[in-house]
């Protein structure tokens, strides 16, 4: 035992010193960090975009203008809310499971109808200035000053040579070099590129589509209709969407008036809603409601399956290369004069296992450090999700399946390593096993969607897949029979594989020359080892 631990500790310390280990440890948090940062900062990072609005009809310019300014105010408000939550004196009462969920739903509803009550309220109260004043008392003394986000879209002044009343085609032709980026506009003495041209022709009302006129429009062909949006950037749809929504709102308001419908009533009607509660029959009475955290719990197993897989792939690397190093450098003979092959194998298994666990722990620690550093709305939610995870049985299951999976595959890989003198030889022996290992990853999402379906049940009973599949099904309360049965089978198989691998390892480790053929391998498994 002492010797086994010595081997394990050497193995561990040497692995931890390798570059590969640190890449593995650091890569995941770095990628996570980058994704988080990029996605949350992307919105503010996009450059300010300049557009030209030419409204020959003279009816819609104002609505578009208001819509774009409102959109900016919405962002200011959003940013301010986030700022408030990050810098409040007391963080306890923030973002709780159900309340904000419904509030959020309401908000989304409102946005959809462009009737943002909160935004109205915000604007009518005096916007940011008022909010800053109001919140001062609740802010931490060391809170940084709030920086207002830059407006995303700014109306550019018209170039001098442009005749606004010219026919649409002429205007477009004049502005084409600007839109193509060949020429730049002068804004406050700075040369900026024109992002988009919105051209509302004089006769635009003729193009209004009403259910009754739909037929005619479809038959009619040729030429752009309605509002013309000219831009070479096709991916950023925020501006055209905002314009379309605002103009449609303006038109609809006209329609309401012309048809004698009370607008305030329509608004009220549009904001009327019936919430949908998602319930989970598996939960205790009174708490059946499916919260955001519950949804996360549904998907967490897949994350764990990935974690098992990634960690296993990392360990495979060590299992093979370290065994082969000992063989090809002939260190093995000195070792075997000091330790039994069994002790050597166990030592390697433990040492490399510890390496894998260290990596996972490092990921977890960096994840928590990350949460601590960025206590924003999203991460507060994540902490909650984590609480849920910790209180469920997902973690112990993960630990169990991780260990079984590791022991099962490590045994096989160590045996392969013991038979090979070079990594190249090992690679050809590994191929079939690697293909087997890809299966649980390929089927992962199917199993997550139908955790107690036929595929899931069948795969659960194949020991090589059991850890992945059962982990994947963990949140879906698989039948007791499956849980107990597959666990027993898995444990039994793991022990059997380790035992057989031990035999192969003992004989393989002293071999030189080509890896054995299947028939020889079979003989090695059956033969009692040449050593005790």
């Amino acid at each position: 035992m002492r010797v086994t631990l010595l081997i394990a500790s050497r193995e561990y310390l040497e692995n931890v010193k390798t570059k590969g280990f640190w890449i593995g440890v650091l890569l995941v948090p770095i990628v996570f960090f980058i994704i988080f940062h990029v996605s949350s900062r992307l919105a503010t990072a996009t450059p300010t975009r300049y557009y030209l609005l030419i409204d020959q009809s003279g009816q819609y310019a104002e609505s578009v203008d208001i819509a774009i300014r409102r959109e900016h105010q919405r962002r200011v408000m959003q940013d301010f809310m986030r700022y408030l939550q990050e810098n409040r004196t007391d963080l306890s009462g923030t973002a709780l499971s159900r309340e904000p969920a419904t509030q959020l739903d309401q908000l989304i509803d409102d946005f959809g109808n462009d009737e943002v009550a909160t935004l109205d309220e915000w604007l009518s109260n005096g916007g940011l200035d008022f909010a800053l004043q109001m919140s001062r008392a609740y802010l931490r003394p060391d809170a940084p000053a709030f920086t207002e986000p830059r407006p995303q879209f700014i109306a550019a002044p018209l170039p001098a040579e442009l005749d606004v009343s010219a026919p649409a085609q002429t205007i477009v032709d004049t502005l084409r070099p600007y839109l193509n980026g060949e020429r730049r506009l002068q804004v406050n003495g700075e040369a900026v590129s024109l992002f988009a041209l919105i051209l509302i022709p004089g006769q635009v009302d003729a193009d209004i589509v009403r259910p009754a006129t739909l037929q005619r429009v479809i038959v009619d062909g040729g030429g752009p209709r309605g509002v013309q949006y000219w831009a070479s950037n096709l991916t950023d749809t925020r501006l055209p969407n905002a314009i379309q929504t605002s103009i449609n709102n303006a038109i609809r308001q006209q329609e309401y008036t012309s048809r004698g419908i009370d607008i305030t009533q329509v608004r009220d009607v549009q904001r009327t809603r019936l919430p949908l509660s998602r319930l989970d029959p598996g939960k205790a009475a009174g708490s059946e409601e499916v919260s955001l955290a519950d949804t996360f719990r549904q998907w967490a197993p897949m994350g764990f399956v990935y974690l098992i897989f990634i960690s296993l792939m990392q360990s495979v690397q060590y299992l093979l290369s370290n065994t082969i190093e000992e063989k090809s450098n002939r260190i093995i003979e000195v070792l075997l004069a000091s330790v039994t092959p069994g002790e050597l194998m166990m030592g390697k298994l433990l040492g490399i296992g510890a390496t894998g666990i260290t990596t996972i722990l490092a990921w977890i620690v960096s994840f928590f450090a990350f949460l601590q550093l960025y206590q924003t709305v999203e991460t507060v939610m994540m902490v909650q999700v984590l609480d849920v995870l910790l209180s469920s049985d997902l973690i112990p299951r993960f630990v169990f399946y991780y260990l079984c999976c590791y022991a099962l595959y490590a045994g096989i890989f160590l045996a392969i390593g013991s038979l090979c003198n070079t990594l190249k030889e090992a690679q050809s022996l590994m191929m079939p096993l690697m293909m087997v290992l890809v299966i649980p990853i390929l089927t992962m999402s199917f199993i997550a969607q139908d955790p107690n379906g036929t595929l899931a049940r069948v795969m659960s009973w194949i020991p090589l897949f059991t850890p992945f599949t059962m982990m994947n099904r963990a949140a879906a309360q698989p039948p007791m029979f499956d849980v107990v049965g597959t666990t027993l089978l898995l444990v039994f198989t793991t022990i059997a594989v380790l035992w057989l691998s031990g035999r192969v390892f003992r004989q393989g480790i002293l071999r030189t020359g080509q890896p054995p053929r299947i028939i020889e391998l079979w003989r090695m498994m059956r033969r009692r080892s040449s050593r005790s």
Partner: protein, 317 residues
């Protein structure tokens, strides 16, 4: 002191139809330096591996330090295998300490011991380099040190001298003498007869898996008759009449720097024959000697005598 450190009784090992080691009997007394000699493929390494229980004999009994398997007494044995190798990324001191701890030494003690050994045998400056950066010979020295770091009672070195320069061969010889002085038993295999001659008290000579000799160096020398070289102008074939002279033969003229016009004779005499007897005979018979060489048989001669023809044959097999 009485019971042997190692004893082999009728030990055989077969690889398929081929018998690598054939019914070897051997007993090695405590505190001795023991040499394993034999041509390539004789079975030395196989025997050593069986002693260490790395492979199992097909027949026979092996007793090491009173145990039936070396694994039971592994802490008391040190081993340098024929094919040398170390963990490339480890530090020199760490690898010596690691193998010492595997053999039951305490971690801190092992570290001190590693530095001590490195200093003593001239590798102090490399203590903190990685094994990778060592030359082959230095690496081999490190490996020798790692095999003796835990002060084993029995040290088994398989071809420890191969690949070392003359200076380091000296160092290693000294190391083996130090071990002996310390009361440790050393077994080593080698192809360099001078080392065996200088270091060993006893020898085992095997060829094609069979023991052909086992005994002291002097006993080995006694196996082949002593050779006397005489140079004179006379015909001295009558020397054969002297008691103890086995054969007299004139050597053909060769490029051996003899005086012009002299003849050279080779005599083989029995081990106990007194050279004075021959000299006296020459004097009495007025034979004018211009050279009289009475040499002890070297181990090399013994080796060639015992295994030469077979070894050559073996190579053509």
């Amino acid at each position: 002191m009485s019971d042997p450190v190692l004893s082999l009784t009728n030990v055989s090992k077969r690889y398929g139809d081929f018998t690598a080691v054939n019914a070897i009997n051997l007993s090695i007394p405590r505190g001795s330096v023991y040499g394993f000699l034999g041509p390539n493929g004789a079975g030395k390494t196989t025997t050593i591996r069986m002693i260490l229980d790395i492979i199992r004999p097909d027949e026979g009994e092996i007793q090491v330090l009173g145990a039936s398997s070396a694994m039971h007494v592994r802490e008391r044995i040190g081993y340098l295998p024929e094919e040398k190798g170390l963990y490339k990324k480890m530090k020199v001191w760490a690898i010596i300490a690691y193998f010492a701890t595997l053999k039951g030494m305490h971690r801190r003690e092992a570290k001190t011991r590693a530095y001590e050994l490195l200093e003593k045998y001239g590798l102090k400056d490399f203590a903190n380099s990685s094994v990778e950066s060592l030359s082959k010979g230095m690496g081999q020295k490190v490996q020798v040190l790692s095999s003796i770091a835990h002060n084993p009672e029995l040290v088994i070195l398989d071809e420890p001298f191969s690949g070392l320069d003359p200076v380091n061969q000296e160092v290693l010889e000294q190391l083996i003498r130090d071990l002996k002085e310390n009361g440790q038993t050393v077994i080593f295999s080698t192809h360099i007869m001078q080392h065996a001659e200088r270091l060993c008290e006893r020898l085992l000579l095997i060829t094609q898996g069979r023991k052909v000799f086992d005994g002291t160096v002097d006993e080995a020398r006694a196996i082949i008759p002593r050779r006397v070289i005489l140079e004179c102008t006379n015909d001295i074939s009558t020397l054969a009449q002297i008691e103890g002279v086995l054969s007299v033969q004139e050597l053909p003229i060769g490029n051996d720097g003899r005086l012009h016009g002299t003849r050279q004779w080779e005599l083989y005499v029995k081990e106990q024959t007194d050279p004075q007897q021959i000299l006296q005979y020459c004097f009495q018979n007025r034979i004018n000697l211009s050279r009289f060489d009475f040499t002890q048989a070297s181990l090399h001669d013994v080796f060639m005598h015992l295994v030469g023809p077979e070894a050559r044959e073996h190579n053509f097999r």
